[in-house]
């Protein structure tokens, strides 16, 4: 298959960044809607340009590196965070045509690897800041993210077992009959929870937990570096939504409408669902979060694998 | 084909299920008595499983495991030693109520599992897996009693780093061998097309270096005295006995699988001489009994390797008997040390603390002396016969240099063993260490059983050897020009002689 045009490669990250920026506005508006308040509504139509304004503000803020911080690492950390998320998008198939990396046969592993690398951003940020809040936040984030990465990987196994491949295209194609959310409902739930925790979104945003930790691992960040963490988080939401869509909701598959539309539709719904969670749920205690992970999700995902394997074996033509 | 690959010898199955069972029982309710009982039961069951012969999949080309007489024999030795070591630790564990110690029997069982897996393996994968299970559990075991022995954490760290290095070297060697041959089944590496000639040589060298590291042969021996001193007495026994048997057993199997490179012969000769002399000379300077045993175990590895390098009619018998003799005598020494070690706190393993033992504990002192003499190769212990066999095998192959090393090493060895006995016979006017006066029936019983084995084995070695080699079955598959032990011929010979 021919290579994607260079322009597409350049445009994709910009598009995602733009989406993430837009999402900051969407979230605030939706939260306003659900919490019965306005949200940003002054700049542009419906406050739409608020996101742009925020971006401009960040760009012109002082590029501050605290003197007590570990300079190189301090700068590197947000870049890593952004980079891993953006790279993950390279293997997500938005349509049946192709993603940037084509049909990578280890696509799912690639995403898992990128998420694993994402932990570094948080840890390094926390460590390099040389500040107590930042360190605590960073360590919390690391513990939370690596824990949930285990369950995330294990919960995916059901999908992989049914498909027999790590390629995201194959996975989507295998759902032409039935979306995996049905046979893999257990895996779906675990994956969804793990996804939220992995992007440390509310209600699992304990690493940032502003009432106890200042702003967590990015306490000492400001300006564009803070903005990159911020954008990375929103891009992460999009990523997890897209991933759930691909893995469990049939990806681009759907009747009547073009494939890309189906994909955007499903992903958008999921993003909205994430925001709804933020609006609806209180934040658990940190030990509750860890307990949920290790004592509930891990056994569940193991159970899921065993059950999936059993069913597959029973249905397999001998 | 997969079913074929999954053939697993029964001791391995028993041991791994036992490990899991113990894990479940610990998770369910912590009870040291229960854990110990499960451990003992598992070991006994596994022991019962060693003689169970599966007729299929034994000498096949493509099996991960081989179950033959050699494997059965070494497994039996390993399991018996583990039972003894469990017995040695029994009382300490029961007494130590302050700290949960259920993991100790668990680690012991895991270590035994690893050792057994190495013995049965015919492929690098299970071999390596077993090696590492053994190594990691040993690290845990060494550090297990850190509440009592201050140096144990340090010892286990040392062991971790050094065994890690040796594992890496070994692995790199295996990797090169795999690159050269394209197969992970045991076979000394040979060059194939597209591979430079250096690779098989480098592979063989690195594998040997790794194994020597683990065996603590001399240029790579520095860790063992420290580690054994840092460990508690039973664990030191475990290091000295179980891990060495397992590694030696796989060494034998590895080099019996094919032709050895000729240059390795000279290298090994040099290593053996260094090992015998180095171990013995090092032992001369020791003031701690555990360290002394560690150094002497280095020397004994040298003797074993000597038999390994002397293929011929007498070789297999020599290896078999020497392993048994070494195991029984070493365990005997350690059981006496355990019986005398003060409860809990620093174990009085300084040789000076043993003054006057002949007068305060004549029974234990006599057992200790017998064991030490057996290690030194003096009748009536079985060690005498064992050393005799080693010498016979070497004389048969005319390994003159090795024999010279054997004689010099034995004399030096004699000196330090006798030194211990001498210390025990020095009447001690002021008892420096008050020995643990409590009666340890199980330890005394164990020591007694080992003594009987050592004495009976020394007086009637034939009675001991015969059950081990009951039928003319090849212990080690032998191909042309190998230096592998020729147990087959030796046994046919033995049968011929035994049968009226």
């Amino acid at each position: 298959m021919r290579q994607p045009p260079f322009l597409a490669i350049i445009l994709t990250p910009l598009l995602i960044l733009g989406l993430a920026t837009l999402l900051t506005w969407v979230e605030r508006r939706l939260l306003g809607l659900w919490q019965d308040r306005y949200g940003p509504n002054r700049v542009g139509p419906g406050g739409m340009l608020q996101a742009v304004a925020d971006g401009i503000k960040m760009l012109f803020k002082q590029d501050w590196i605290p003197p007590f911080a570990d300079k190189g690492v301090f700068v590197l950390a947000p870049a890593i965070g952004m980079m891993t998320v953006l790279l993950s998008f390279a293997v997500i198939p938005a349509t049946s045509l192709r993603s940037i990396a084509g049909n990578l046969n280890v696509g799912l592993l690639f995403i898992l690897a990128m998420m694993g690398l994402g932990v570094y951003a948080v840890v390094l940020a926390g460590w390099a800041s040389n500040s107590k809040y930042a360190l605590l936040g960073g360590m919390r984030a690391a513990a939370q993210m690596i824990s949930y990465e285990v369950f995330m990987g294990l919960s995916l196994m059901g999908v992989v077992m049914i498909t027999g491949s790590f390629s995201l295209y194959d996975i989507v194609a295998a759902q032409s009959g039935l979306w995996f959310i049905v046979p893999q409902c257990l895996g779906f739930i675990v994956f969804l929870l793990a996804g939220i925790a992995e992007t440390h979104r509310l209600p699992f945003d304990l690493p940032e937990g502003e009432n106890e930790l200042g702003a967590g691992f990015h306490t000492e960040y400001s300006g564009m570096k803070f903005g990159m963490f911020f954008l990375a988080e929103y891009a992460g939401i999009v990523l997890v939504s897209a991933l759930v869509t691909t893995l469990y909701l049939g990806g681009w598959l759907g009747p009547f409408l073009p494939a890309a539309v189906w994909f955007v539709l499903k992903t958008g719904t999921l993003v909205a669902f994430f925001i709804l969670l933020r609006a609806a749920l209180p934040r658990p205690r940190y030990d509750q979060l860890m307990t949920l992970g290790w004592k509930v999700l891990l056994p569940l995902s193991l159970l899921n694998i065993a059950a999936t394997g059993t069913i597959l074996m029973l249905r397999a033509p001998e | 084909m997969i079913a074929h690959d999954l053939f697993v010898p029964s001791p391995l199955l028993v041991l791994s299920s036992g490990t899991m069972l113990m894990l479940v029982s610990i998770a369910w309710r912590r009870s040291i008595t229960l854990s110990l009982s499960i451990g003992l039961l598992t070991l006994l069951l596994a022991l019962a499983g060693t003689d169970h012969h599966l007729t299929t999949g034994q000498h096949g080309v493509a099996t991960l495991f081989i179950q033959d007489r050699w494997a059965d024999y070494t497994t039996a030795l390993i399991l018996l030693s583990s039972i003894c070591i469990l017995g040695l630790s029994w009382r300490n564990l029961l007494h130590d109520t302050a700290h949960p110690t259920d993991e100790y029997p668990l680690l012991l069982l895991l270590g035994t599992l690893g050792a057994t897996s190495m013995v049965f393996s015919a492929n690098y994968i299970p071999f390596f897996l077993g090696l590492e299970i053994l190594g990691i559990s040993l690290i845990g075991l060494v550090a297990a009693r850190h509440h009592h022995l201050t140096a144990s954490s340090e010892a286990s760290m040392k062991y971790l780093i050094l065994s890690g290095i040796s594992s890496a070297i070994l692995l790199f060697g295996i990797g090169l061998a795999y690159a050269a041959t394209g197969s992970l089944y045991f076979s000394p590496p040979v060059a194939t097309d597209g591979i430079s000639h250096g690779i098989p040589i480098a592979a063989a060298t690195m594998i040997l270096v790794g194994i020597f590291f683990k065996l603590s042969a001399v240029p790579f021996h520095m860790w063992i005295p420290d580690v054994m001193e840092g460990a508690s007495t039973p664990v030191a026994a475990f290091i000295a006995v179980v891990s060495k048997i397992a590694i030696f057993s796989s060494l034998v199997r590895y080099f019996s699988a094919g032709e050895m490179q000729p240059f390795l012969n000279d290298t090994m000769t040099a290593v053996i001489i260094l090992t015998i002399l180095g171990g013995n000379l090092l032992a001369l300077r020791q003031t701690s009994l555990t360290r002394l045993m560690a150094c002497s175990s280095i020397a004994h590895v040298g003797y074993l390797l000597m038999a390994f390098l002397s293929p011929g009619q007498l070789q297999s018998g020599a290896i078999v008997v020497y392993l048994a003799a070494y195991t029984a005598s070493t365990l005997g020494v350690f059981s006496v040390i355990s019986a005398l070690a003060a409860n809990g706190d620093t174990d009085g393993t300084s040789i000076a603390d043993w003054k006057g033992l002949f007068f305060s504990h004549p029974f234990l002192a006599v057992i200790m002396s017998l064991m030490l003499l057996s290690l030194a190769g003096i009748p009536p212990g079985i060690g005498f016969f064992a050393k005799f066999e080693i010498a016979a095998a070497s004389v048969e192959r005319q390994r003159d240099l090795l024999l010279a090393a054997l004689v010099i090493g034995s004399v030096i060895g004699l000196y330090y063993y006798l030194n211990v006995i001498r210390t025990m016979m020095t009447p001690d006017i002021v008892q420096i260490v008050t020995y643990n006066r409590k009666n340890y029936p199980e330890l005394t019983g164990l020591a007694l059983v080992l003594t009987i084995i050592v004495i009976v084995g020394g007086l009637f070695p034939a009675r001991l050897i015969r059950p081990i080699l009951p039928a003319p079955v090849t212990i080690i598959p032998r191909s042309a020009n190998t230096i592998a032990p020729d147990i087959d011929t030796a046994m046919r010979y033995a049968i011929h002689d035994i049968s009226p």
């Binding site: - | 954490s153 760290m157 890496a168 692995l171």
Partner: protein
Amino acid sequence: MPVFSFNDALLVAVLLFATGLTGVLVRRNLLFMLMSLDIMLNAAALVFVAAGARWHDASGQVMFLMILALAATETAVGLAIILRLHARGRPSLDADTGNLLRG
């Protein structure tokens, strides 16, 4: 279409291995020694992967997984012991301060 030949991989592995070995022998910080150890193990793992690719054989990758597990376990145990040493009042990670055992 192999991008790298076996010999290239071998060269990288040897370099990694040498780096790790040097690290273990030269560094005195226990953490760095552990890391160097992992580098050595990974070098070995690389050899297996390369050789497996050369022979089109899966056992190289099996071995790779095993090495991965070993490296993980070794690190886990090593860190635990370092913590234990720390708790016993050895604030330094310097391997030379371990002097309870005469080497």
